[in-house]
Amino acid sequence: MSQLLEATFWSATVAGGLRLATPLIYASIGETFAQRAGVLNLGLEGYMIIGALTSLYVADPTVAPLGFLAGGLAGMLLAAFMVLLSIRLYANQVVVGFGLTILGIGTTGYIFRVTTDVGGRDRQVSLPSEVDIPLLSDIPWLGDALFGHSWYTWLALGLVVVTGFIASRTIFGLEVKAVGEDPDAAAARGVDVVRVRTMATLMSGFLGGLGGAALMLGSVGRFQPWLTANRGFIALIVIIMASWSIWGAAVGAFVFGFFEALGFNLNNVFVDVPVEGLNAIPFFVALLILTASARWARMPRGLGENYVPTV
């Protein structure tokens, strides 16, 4: 129990939470755009894992930033199926989303299998070093907790600012909101619903792919089948928990990551508590937050509903 009184215990947990949150931040801000535009994208897990594999396979012979970008593009490619099937051909979004998740896991597993000889060398990248920020990194407790991170984390936080601005201060952001609330009304006012939804979905694919790439290049470095281990679905949890707000998604991702890290850490504090109980902590916290925020949560009204032009 005495560990709980030590500052380092908490700085390590906060730092761990931010590391675990990094892929979730990318994935959830992208998906927030899609859902705000009315597209329920359950293929997020698929975008993430295909982004993870692609980033590794590109970064291994070249450099990490190139792999990172490629991961995003791969996610976007998979999201193009969502555009084609759901937005253009009106197939059910939930069904297509599940299909794309299976497709992503299957495709990456298959590519990994046929490109790796048993006992041969797997593709691998070394993990990035921490970005040392002068002065800030040297602050006693905060430096360890908040400033010892790789550029993937910093970029994620930067993207939150940028996308937050896009969502609330640009025409595109307003259009996204309009087509997600009432596509018919938006169309009546001259918004090209299909175009806006397409862009939001592709964005979600791109950012989901970046999330997978950040996971791969930032903290794993080598592929295993289905190594995203449901993180795409956790990103969905984060989005709903954050009531479809970009900033909220970033905070929610961190909260989730923090409690996941706390669960790992508490294993050596409460030795007798089963691991399964500790691993339930982040989900339990999510339920509490969800319940508390339900009062002012507002789901995009057109979410999950395909838009069929009435012309």
Binding site: A91, V94, L103, G106, I237, E276, T291, A294
Partner: protein, 374 residues
């Protein structure tokens, strides 16, 4: 936008926007068969490219789904749980609720069935079997009770709360099978064998076609009755237009809680069927992906009795055939997944128009919740 048509055919949800239906149907009918065909061809090309023979592979798939008595038994025993979950989910969908927690409720149902069966270990089968079925259904209901209450009284989004409860179920079963429910000698999580007096017997020897499969028929008939009953109609009405339903005196909370409890009970029943019929032991992976695919089946089937049945059979066949493709043709599991996913995406187009109408109903309900709160 969403016109409620009184006196429309009760088996269907009728509130399609005028004009769009015609257009989307003609596109759909021509694109649907084409989409499946494209999926088959693309899958074939991928196999060809990977050095497999697509013809023998698809042959093995069909063979593994329909080609023998055993294969048909596999298709049926995989389709039955999907259909049951599909029907339960459809009841919620028709009332405007998306529950994606069936996966966790199946797990809870399996635990409930096992515990009940162990309690009645010495009772005659005529007692033990129905008791375990009820136990499974009750555990399934218990697992959705909190999300249902939260949705009814605090407007908590049920997509997320049921997903969270699926996580809780996964962790709970892992804990139980690693600790209290584990035989002392076992070093991996699994239960003792399911008690003999509670086992659902085989219908055809040498297959896995067990009597639990018939539960799907019973649930299917119950679903048809439900859809045609007055109460079922009022729930449909709520799903289509909650405003109107409430003005007609239909209680919002009752619809939400009851329809979610029904979906929980059916999923719990599936946990019982898998534990007492198919596997005769409880494993961590007892639910396979039944809960998730049951949702897909409900959507693909347009939440109608016939549609869910066909979609479940299609999926049962796809899964049985996908496995046979691996064992007979040496196709890796990941490639088989790719083929199955492509076919799923192909089929998704066929059903597009029905589902558009369905989701419109679901989302209209959310709209109300949103409005009410502001």
């Amino acid at each position: 936008m969403t016109d409620v048509v009184a006196g429309g055919e009760r088996g269907e949800i009728e509130h399609a926007p005028a004009g769009t239906e015609e257009r989307s149907l003609t596109t759909s009918l021509s694109t649907s068969s084409l989409a499946v065909l494209i999926a088959v061809v693309v899958g074939g090309l991928i196999m060809l490219f990977s050095g497999e023979n697509p013809l023998t592979a698809y042959g093995a798939m069909l063979d593994g789904a329909f080609g023998s008595r055993f294969a048909l038994g596999e298709t049926l025993s995989r389709a039955a749980p999907l259909a049951i979950v599909g029907y339960g989910t459809a009841v919620a969908l028709r009332a405007g609720l998306i529950t994606i927690g069936a996966q966790g409720q199946v797990v809870a149902g399996a635990i409930g069935a096992l515990l009940t069966a162990q309690f009645f270990e010495t009772a005659p089968s005529a007692v033990a079997i129905p008791a375990a079925a009820i136990g499974g259904a009750l555990f399934g209901m218990a697992w959705v009770l909190i999300p249902a209450m939260l949705r009814a009284y605090f407007s908590v989004n049920e997509i997320l709360s049921t997903l969270l409860f699926t996580e809780f179920a996964a962790l709970l079963i892992e804990y139980l099978l690693n600790n209290p429910l584990k035989p002392p000698t076992a070093i991996t999580p699994q239960s003792d064998p399911y008690p003999d007096n509670g086992i659902l017997g085989l219908v055809i020897d040498g297959t896995r076609f067990h009597t639990g499969v018939f539960a799907a028929v019973i649930i299917g008939l119950a679903f048809i009755w439900w859809v045609r009953s007055d109460r079922g109609f009022s729930y449909d009405l709520y799903g289509e237009n909650p405003n109107l339903a409430q003005s007609l005196g239909i209680s919002s909370n009752r619809v939400i809680i009851n329809s979610l409890l029904i979906s929980g009970a059916t999923a719990g029943l599936v946990g019982w069927i898998q534990a007492a019929g198919l596997l005769q032991r409880v494993y961590v992976g007892i639910a396979s992906d039944i809960g998730f695919f049951g949702l897909v089946v409900a959507f693909l089937g347009g939440a109608t009795a016939g549609g869910v049945l066909v979609a479940a059979l299609l999926f049962g066949a796809l899964q049985a055939g996908g496995l046979a493709m691996q064992s007979s043709e040496g196709i890796p599991a990941s490639l088989s997944d790719i083929i199955q996913a492509l076919l799923l995406l192909g089929f998704s187009i066929r059903y597009a128009p029905q589902i558009i109408r369905l989701t419109r109903g679901v989302m209209a309900n959310f709209t109300l919740v949103g409005r009410k709160r502001r």
